[in-house]
């Protein structure tokens, strides 16, 4: 290979590539910044919606699992008692039980035996 050809080749290679080494694109930096800002806004929206959803879920959980206070429990019990008619039924049913106790406990077969015995 001729040395002068080689050096010309090297020089031309460097020059040809060097001329294409840098390409200034007008407005390129602005476009990059715009894209970055859009992505940042989108990320913020996603972050906030995620935060709001989590907060809402927490509130619902707290509301559902909240333990009632003692005073509230007493009030609820009293209300239940006031609307409950089972006590009145109990009274009636209890009386019925008492009446059944008073009924004679005589077996039918025993009564027949007494009436048919020769000494009666």
């Amino acid at each position: 290979m001729d040395n002068s050809d080689q050096s010309t080749f090297e020089r031309d290679l460097s020059a040809a590539l060097g001329r294409k080494a840098a390409v200034v694109v007008p407005g390129f930096a602005e476009r990059v910044v715009e894209v970055v800002q859009v992505k940042r806004r989108r990320a913020n929206v996603i972050r906030w919606s995620s935060w709001i959803t989590t907060a809402a879920a927490c509130l619902v959980t707290i509301f559902l699992t909240k333990e009632p206070s003692e005073e509230s429990l007493i009030r609820q019990t009293r209300a239940l008692l006031a609307s409950d008619e089972s006590a009145q039924f109990n009274e009636i049913l209890g009386l019925a039980n008492d009446l059944s106790v008073l009924a004679p406990v005589i077996e039918k077969s025993t009564l027949v035996d007494v009436l048919t015995s020769p000494g009666s």
Binding site: F9, L13, A15, L17, A21, V25, V32, V36, Q37
Partner: protein, 190 residues
């Protein structure tokens, strides 16, 4: 990305801007892009052949840089780091296309103060070189572009290409030989 080299003033300025970018400063990002996009787009155009694709990829490089600003190591040279990201994107682009970019490159005449004849001669030569470079195997093309066009050191090229320096030297040697062969009409047989 040689970590032993002292930081040059440009590198110090890059480091300062990157810290600002990591803090969400868009003006710093704008400055950084203006400083680095011409060489990055030039390199990418050499790789993919199309200016439009080169711009798209360069845009993605800067978006990734912005995303990684907090993790960027200040001791690394930013220009090398950018080309490292760009090289990975080029590899992805080739995989996506399912073929290597061996088509003819965009030929945009560069502005200059040459006479019309010498300008035509320069354009012919440029186009011949661009076509020849587009025909190189990918590793050879990347290596020769990074060495001759971007003027990077062998060690930096090796780091960008995730390869030993010896492989880089081999690729460059083969690239030169192949280019001589492809351009034998201009320079005679190798």
């Amino acid at each position: 990305m040689s970590q032993d080299e002292p930081l040059l003033p440009d590198d110090v300025e890059d480091k300062r801007l990157m810290l600002l970018v990591a803090g969400g400063d868009d003006d710093a990002l704008r400055l950084l892009v203006n400083r680095h996009h011409p060489r990055l787009v030039g390199y990418l155009r050499g790789e993919v052949g199309s200016l439009a694709t080169a711009e798209e990829l360069a845009m993605e490089v800067f978006i990734r840089l912005h995303r990684a600003a907090n993790r960027w190591r200040p001791e690394a040279k930013l220009s090398t780091y950018l080309i490292h990201i760009a090289r990975n994107l080029v590899l992805n682009e080739w995989r996506r296309r399912g073929r290597k970019p061996t088509t003819a490159l965009d030929s945009t005449p560069e502005p200059g103060d040459h006479s019309q004849t010498s300008a035509r001669r320069l354009n012919e030569l440029d186009e011949a070189f661009q076509r020849a470079i587009a025909q190189l195997p990918p590793e050879q093309r990347t290596a020769i572009l990074l060495l001759v066009q971007q003027e990077l050191a062998y060690e930096d090229i090796a780091e960008i290409m995730d390869a030993p320096v010896s492989s880089v030297k081999t690729w460059i040697h083969r690239a030169r030989a192949r280019l001589r062969e492809l351009l034998k009409d201009f320079y005679g047989p190798a």
